[in-house]
Amino acid sequence: MKILRILLLILILSPLSLLAGQIDSSLVLENSSARVFPQERFRAVYKTKIDIKDKSFSGLLLVRENADSSFRIAFVTEVGMKIFEFEFFPRKKDAFHVVSILSYLDRGIILKTLRRDFESLFMGFTAFKKPKIKSLGKASFTQRYCYEGKRIYFVQGKQILSMTRSKFLSTKEEIHFTYGDNAFPQLINIHHLGVKLDIEMKLIKVNGSE
């Protein structure tokens, strides 16, 4: 009987303890709309280099966010050869569509990795199907936000400074953002640990302006 009482006490208190673990709900709400790209419906061009295993691809990456919050990206070499073109549809079951991809890259692990990388960049927190975001507390000027327990974004104000993705306590991926005069990230570096796939992006134009 005593054991039953203790169990009941644990069951009653446990939700309260979980709620208490979410430090500051107002901060979460305020920053849950933090995005890598500050404005909706934008068009940007990044000079991009993708190193995959022993191959290196360079060219221009076109990014466009549409009115329905879907994203379209295309990676085209300087000489006009398209490497891949993807579409992302947030809040839809089939959220990812491969329009085309070079046969060399048309492999499950590469596609999965590229998809995850670009989702990390282009899909804002709120664009995911079921946002589950919690604050991990403050560390000096930076707040950390965790998305679905895998991606941890380091946020300062409305700017995302970096992101790490871990699995089984081991860091699998790091993304670093460098900002210039406008709020768009000028440099984006994606580095994988364990998979030889790195992406460097340098902003050339955004919304048709320099």
Binding site: R43, V45, K47, S58, L60, L62, R64, R72, A74, V76, E78, V79, G80, M81, K82, E85, V99, S100, I204, K205, G208
Partner: protein, 205 residues
């Protein structure tokens, strides 16, 4: 401007091309012209039309060709980028860094170099890799090449090479991809048979 909305209303009106009756005669004239072309210096514009994306990527620069097989593409907009092909090696200058690769290790560049050089020296018109149809409009001839190679067919539907009627020189290319994307390259301010130094094809200082 690098990116602009694809607008069919501002696209140039399509010319009225008709099949050429005496294809062999035209082919001979183009090949003769090509045989007498030892070098080309030309400005170029490149439009990559992403049909599904409804975007056009515009770039421009300078093109050099020197026989037998040296080619240099220098892009000045929207980014600085130089690619040199000489049949054996491909060299790329990007962000002041120069990298060279053995062309045998990169079949894509090897094929690009072969297509370009064979387009310029006329050999492509005798190639068994393509089925060719010839057309003409008021000012231009056009050779439409359909690849026979199954691998190429999966990517490229056809390649159109445009020649000026006035001198049979190549003035443009249109590469129509299977995905309905297409690339248009236009050559302007062509200078033929100028003495182009070999150093122009060496990217290492």
């Amino acid at each position: 401007m690098c990116i602009m909305l694809l607008s069919f209303s501002v696209a140039p009106p399509s010319e009225d091309f008709k099949r050429v009756k005496d294809e062999q005669s035209l082919k001979n004239k183009i090949i003769e012209k090509a045989k007498n072309t030892h070098s080309i210096r030309s400005d170029f514009t490149q439009e990559k039309h992403l049909t599904m994306f409804e975007e056009v990527m515009n770039s421009k620069g300078e093109f050099l060709f020197k026989e037998p097989n040296k080619v240099r593409w220098e892009y000045v907009e929207p980014i600085s980028y130089i690619i040199v092909l000489d049949g054996k090696r491909v060299s790329i200058k990007d962000d002041e860094k120069v990298k060279s690769y053995d062309m045998d290790s990169n079949p894509i560049f090897k094929e690009i170099n072969r297509l370009l050089v064979h387009s310029l020296n006329g050999e492509i018109l005798s190639s068994k890799d393509f089925r060719i149809e010839y057309y003409e409009s008021k000012d231009r001839y056009m050779a439409r090449l359909f690849p026979n190679n199954e691998d190429m067919k999966q990517v490229i539907d056809n390649i159109e090479i445009y020649f000026a009627k006035i001198d049979f020189g190549v003035i443009g290319l249109r590469i129509n991809e299977y995905s309905q994307d297409f690339t248009i390259i236009k050559f302007q301010n062509r200078i033929l048979n100028e003495d182009i130094k070999n150093s122009s094809f060496n990217l290492n200082p």
